[in-house]
Symmetry: C2
Subunit: 353 residues, 2 copies
């Protein structure tokens, strides 16, 4: 007989798991977004990839994979509950994720998101601020209004995560004002704190919310949250690798994009922490008052690799992925859901976009 919430014969491929979770969550997500003012609902549907900027439905468009909602559903199933118990949490984390991308794109001046104009480019900065605020408020409201005995605990976790996200974005924005080397340079510890706040917190929250709403014990919730946090830090490291060495046709971002934008990412900081000639040449390139052109960025990418930045980042991703997978083996989790979480974790690190 199948375990609770794990019907016999279900599709346990990563694609199948993600699809199953999206289908489980979608009705509630659509209903929740439908509570917004029609204009903010239109911007939300665009941000979620459900429609184009004219408001025309685009069902096969640019919808994300729904990693966070899947983590929430699997978190509930991992503690033996039905995945349906996690739906309010899954909706909340998807809305928080959409809110944070939307506002981060304004702050970072990023004009493209999933190969389409960012919301602030498509609708204007003011409306995009409003749409983000609407999604932020809606996420908390949706969770706070969920029935059941675990709502208070779930809301407190979501609030802590929202604060962490904002802190991570503050840390990241401040990096721009810090020098590349010398006193006041961004340290690896500072970078890790940013990654934990900006990326780890929400992935940890997603799986923990599912486990909380599924009635998991405090110890199990803590282990699952730890798994999600490590996954997030590993995910950020892979993002940093793709930001330099990703294939533009696949990532939708320019070649060596993060170097051309002079973003202080893990590979570059790890390279600069070295002592050799490549590190010194790289520092000189980056400290130039001129923004790097295409050739300079290409040279910088070679130097980051020579100075060990690429290998260090791969090592960082691997260590955190391993820690995340270990955390899945600790507690007494439902084996099917734990296995699906494990496969999902691995697939997220082995990606090209």
């Amino acid at each position: 007989m199948a375990a609770a919430g794990v019907p016999h014969g279900r599709d346990s491929t990563v694609g199948g798991v993600l699809r199953r979770c999206r289908e489980l969550v979608r009705p509630a997500l659509v209903e929740t977004v439908g509570r917004l003012h029609p204009w903010t609902a239109e911007m939300a549907a665009y941000a979620l990839g459900w429609s184009d900027a004219a408001g025309t439905p685009d069902p096969d468009g640019s919808e994300g994979k729904g990693v966070r909602q899947a983590l929430a559903v699997l978190g509930a199933e991992a503690v033996g509950a039905d995945g349906g118990a996690a739906v309010a949490g899954a909706v909340a984390v998807e809305l928080v994720h959409t809110f944070s991308l939307l506002h981060d794109d304004i702050m970072d001046g990023d004009a493209l998101r999933r190969q389409r104009p960012a919301v602030w480019k498509a609708y204007g900065t003011g409306p995009a601020v409003l749409a983000g605020d609407a999604l932020h408020a809606l996420a908390v409201q949706c969770l706070a209004g969920a029935p059941g005995p675990w709502t208070g605990e779930a809301v407190r976790r979501l609030c802590g995560t929202l604060n962490a996200l904002v802190r991570g974005q503050a840390e990241d924005l401040r990096f721009e004002r810090q020098p590349w080397s010398g006193p006041g340079a961004v340290g690896m510890d500072q970078y890790r704190s940013m990654a934990e706040h900006k990326t780890g917190a929400l992935l940890g929250c997603a799986v923990a919310l599912g486990a909380v709403l599924g009635g998991g014990s405090a110890a199990t919730v803590a282990e699952l949250e730890r798994a999600g946090r490590h996954l997030g830090v590993a995910f950020q490291a892979v993002d940093d690798l793709l930001g330099i060495w990703g294939e533009p046709a696949v990532t939708g971002k320019p070649v060596h994009g993060d170097l051309r934008q002079r973003k202080k990412t893990f590979p570059v900081l790890a390279a600069l922490a070295g002592e050799g000639p490549a590190a010194r040449e790289l520092a000189a390139l980056l400290e130039s008052p001129e923004p790097p052109d295409r050739a300079t960025a290409a040279r910088a990418a070679v130097l980051v690799e020579e100075a060990g930045g690429r290998a260090a980042t791969r090592g960082e991703a691997r260590r955190h992925l391993d820690a995340a997978r270990r955390a899945l083996r600790g507690p007494a989790l439902a084996p099917d859901a734990a296995g699906e979480l494990d496969s999902l974790f691995v697939s997220l690190l082995d990606r090209s976009r």
Copy 2:
């Protein structure tokens, strides 16, 4: 013997009440803002009027009167509790108010706030988006973390209010795209809905949160919330009067400012709803493709008054103030606190800025 929370001989003037409430709430407000990342804390302190844009403390600077925190404290006292019971709610509503001003100034392009540069002017748009997000998240976290049996109810109310605020701002921003007259023009009902969401919701929430946290009955909480909502709509009407006829030296805004910006406010919409020659001349002035110069705005102000817009707005403010005061007489409220609420309500409508 004095009633609970009402020490004998306290200063019951409006100024005294506001000061007492600010002093009660301030330690928690300072502690809560201190949890933020130092950069967002600096922007928050600026927005709250505690410091200048260089981060230098400015204790007698531009701090607001703290109307919302006072409403929360008096809400608790009105149901017989100690004002201290309302502190988490008072902190939350002040933070929500600060967040909403901060983001609204970005969306509306308003460069001045309390006679100083708005946060986005002083720190940049991206950082101001971030600071608003930080205050939004912090407000909910602070309330969700409060002890006691009423936290869940209080959080649900705050979430509903945050959604109403965003809806009100969406409605207000959409007015800009609607014509002044003919099909699709902004109706008085649309305007009232905007005012209820944008201004009524938070004032109603403030007093209701205090009453909830003070353990008030559902019926009493509902009456107090109704009082606060009516107060908010009246407050917005007075704001609209000051936006046209306010004394620039007192309001810190340009003469006939709302007319020069062609804002669709109650006095103008009420005037346009008339049938006479003044309404027709006013519509022609406002529909001109050129933004009104000083002389045109002055003529428009005369026409709004001639067409009855000023009197209608005064009537609207008066009706809602009366309804708010009636709601204070309904339930069995602690008389000292109810009296102080009543005086505060009257003073907020009888203001010059």
